[in-house]
Amino acid sequence: MKKQDFIGTKSLVKLALRRDRIRIPAWVLAIGLYSALVIVAYAEFSAKEMQELITMASISQGMRMLVSPIASDQVGQLGSFFLFRTSFLLSIIVSMMNIQLVTRHTRHNEESGCAEMISSTVAGRYASLAASLITAFIANLTLFALFVLGFIASGLPLEGSIAAAASFALIGMVFACVAAVTSQLSESSRGASGLASITFALAFFINAIGNVMGTVHEQSMGFSSSWIAWLSPVGWVNQTQAFDQNRFAVLLLFAGLMLILFPAAVWLSKRRDIGRGILPARRGPARASRFLTSAPGLAWRLQRKTLLSWMVIMLLIGITFGAVSQEYGASIEQIDVFQQFLLSADYFIFSMIAIVSSVLSLFTLQSLLRMRSEEAEGPLETFLSTPVRRFTWMLSFIGFSLLGTLVLLITFASGAGLAAQSSASETVEFIKASLYHGSAILVIAGLVITMFGLVPKIARGFSWILVMIAVLIGPVLGPMLNLPESIHNLSPFTHIALQPDQTSTAALVILTGIGLLLTLTGLAAFSRRSLKL
């Protein structure tokens, strides 16, 4: 690494900031605003309410996957309670923002040919890589400032606010560096961000296991995680113990990891050609299989790997949650407070089904938006010059997306049922519950399809926003916000009860009806409009 290898970095940072002048502020503001809103909502909780929620989650091994460890003397404190419930979500969102940002300015630039132009100018070998990380640094620094401001404004102590904000900004930087590495490994930006996301999922899972294996404090007043959580950067965010011990030394771990990842990315980039990855592109068949040569075949061929990886993940999570549910059922029966809730192992699985269904709407969204990239990136132009109806093409992609979602829902539910050693009739109930949630996903799908048909150019951004809102105000995360019921009702997920027998047939019919109507609207609109290339 010589100084001249980084020449031109400054101009490239300016270029990246100019290109992302809307995207970065939108992400950063949305995240900052969301966390501020959540604190305001939590401020209304009484110490007793907080304690109940903490106890309920601490004794459940499944819930511990999704919360932070908390010391018993912190139970009832706003700052610690906020981190207890939202740090997993903030870690996910901040990391995703960074992964998207870095792959966009490295691998995606190479795919589109921009990088080649840049490299031929007076720009050093590593200028692009450095510029994308500096851009990420600027975004994370802004986020840090917003977090601190929001926390202090909500009356939280300064030292803890800085520790918490720094831990989130730093996990962002770590995954920016992870994306810098995966951008060298994979040859496509889809592959690069996919690899980085899988790395994050792994880190998340390691921390989750650390929490599950942890010890519950006396009287179920919180829990602490086992040493395993220290193996994951997601765990470090929790171990900083902001608003409690404020262990700033833990933050050095993030810095240390970055000092390994950045040189690794540089080292890898030296060993490959521009436009290529370290993992070589394999050769493929010289002839097409009979199945590929149709619109549905193409939709399958282009996205089968995505579907298969989701299936493996769903099966793994399903089996994990199913296995954990048994212990949850056993421990819960000993506690009086929860007798009022109908709590059992089955109840636990039903709530996991609700959570996973919201997450699965991301698969639906992604696979539907593939239609837009087919259109914008060009292949659709040639494809539609063949005697294939637009309707057939679109229906093929929609069909893949919806059937894929169904398969994933069933995979999760049956995996959980199997691992929980449930009876056949219970497993059927689990599958039924996931299919009911499928009707809510159908509404989301309908919205995405309508936007693709009517307003293709902004469909991508708006679909993401809509899905995020539907999930955030839905039954899984919505209660954290203390919003009025009328707003909760806007999310289709709110209308599906946890247990299938409590969901009204009317709700199912209405949701399915709305979903189908929106889908037809989108289909009709696309058949009538010009392609937006």
Partner: protein, 306 residues
């Protein structure tokens, strides 16, 4: 029935008028060259003909059918190669060729193999690893492997090396012999000169010239280089003369083809020592229509324009 016909086709992108009363016709068995500077409206016209874009007014018909309404019926009988062939990065070239051939009615493996050899394409490589020229080849093979009546080719040779260009020319000539119809836009004048029966030139969304090459040449100017024994004076009283340059008794100028006869008669009386007459090349024809644009661009170069 005309294979392809547009009548006063208009297309707006917002307030910008991309096409202004475009008339194009193409008879069966004809090869039409569709020429024009970048951004003149060639691709827009083609996309409307393919039913990918909506027109604002006018008519666009292929095989007597409406380009938008009956696009599927029309597409059974045509093959299209876009100017920038963008393919699915994770599919191989061979798979893409099969996909398109199959969708257009079936794969003729013999013909596919033959074209693959002629264009020297490795079908087992993923599309993401092909160069621009190789992606173009995939598009061309997929088109020529299909047995259709009409080929629509948008700048088909961009990115091809000279050897591949000549393979491409052979392919088009074969199609022509089989009575197929071809619409191709191109900047490669050699292609146009060799392949096209007629050309249409589009500029700023308007068709400014249509006709066979010889018809167009008729309208164009011939360059005369002459050396005479006696000075030539008052040439412009005989006919309009352009770009006159003189060195002693050597003269170079351009005249309209219609005025060749009187000018020759006049020069004959001036004791001609040497005379060369150069017919207009396609480039001249082309440049004539771009003339004012060229003048504007040149003046910008000299910094005269804002």
């Amino acid at each position: 029935m005309k294979t392809l016909e547009t009548k006063s086709l208009d297309k707006f992108y917002g307030k910008f008028q991309a096409l202004d009363k475009v008339d194009l016709t193409l008879e069966q068995g004809e090869v039409l060259g569709f020429l024009g500077p970048n951004g003149a409206g060639k691709t827009t016209t083609i996309r409307i003909l393919l039913g990918l874009l909506r027109k604002n007014s006018g008519e666009a018909k292929l095989f007597g059918l409406d380009a938008w309404q009956d696009s599927v019926k029309i597409h059974r009988r045509l093959a299209y190669v876009p100017g920038d062939v963008n393919l699915w990065p994770n599919l191989t070239g061979g798979e893409v060729i099969d996909l398109f051939s199959k969708l257009r009615g079936g794969i003729d493996y013999k013909r596919r193999e033959q074209l693959m050899n002629r264009f020297d394409l490795d079908p087992t490589k993923k599309c993401s690893t092909y160069s621009k020229g190789n992606r173009q080849k995939v598009g061309l093979i997929a088109a020529f492997a299909s047995d259709v009546d009409l080929y629509i080719l948008d700048e088909p040779t961009s990115g091809l090396d000279p050897l591949m260009m000549s393979v491409f020319q052979d392919c088009v000539l074969e199609m022509k012999q089989q009575g197929k119809t071809v619409l191709m836009s191109s900047h490669i004048l050699a292609d146009v000169e060799k392949l096209c029966d007629r050309i249409s030139i589009i500029r700023k969304g308007q068709i400014v010239e249509t006709g066979s090459l010889s018809q167009l040449r008729q309208k164009a100017r011939t360059t005369i280089l002459v050396e005479t024994g006696r000075p030539v004076t008052g040439l412009d009283t005989i006919a309009p003369v352009y770009n006159l340059r003189q060195k002693d008794n050597q003269y170079q100028f351009e005249i309209d083809n219609a005025h060749i006869d009187p000018v020759m008669q006049y020069l004959a009386g001036r004791h001609i020592k040497q005379l060369t007459s150069t017919p207009p090349s396609l480039e001249d024809l082309f440049m004539r229509h771009y003339g004012d644009e060229l003048a504007e661009l040149n003046s910008r170069k000299e910094g005269k324009s804002a």
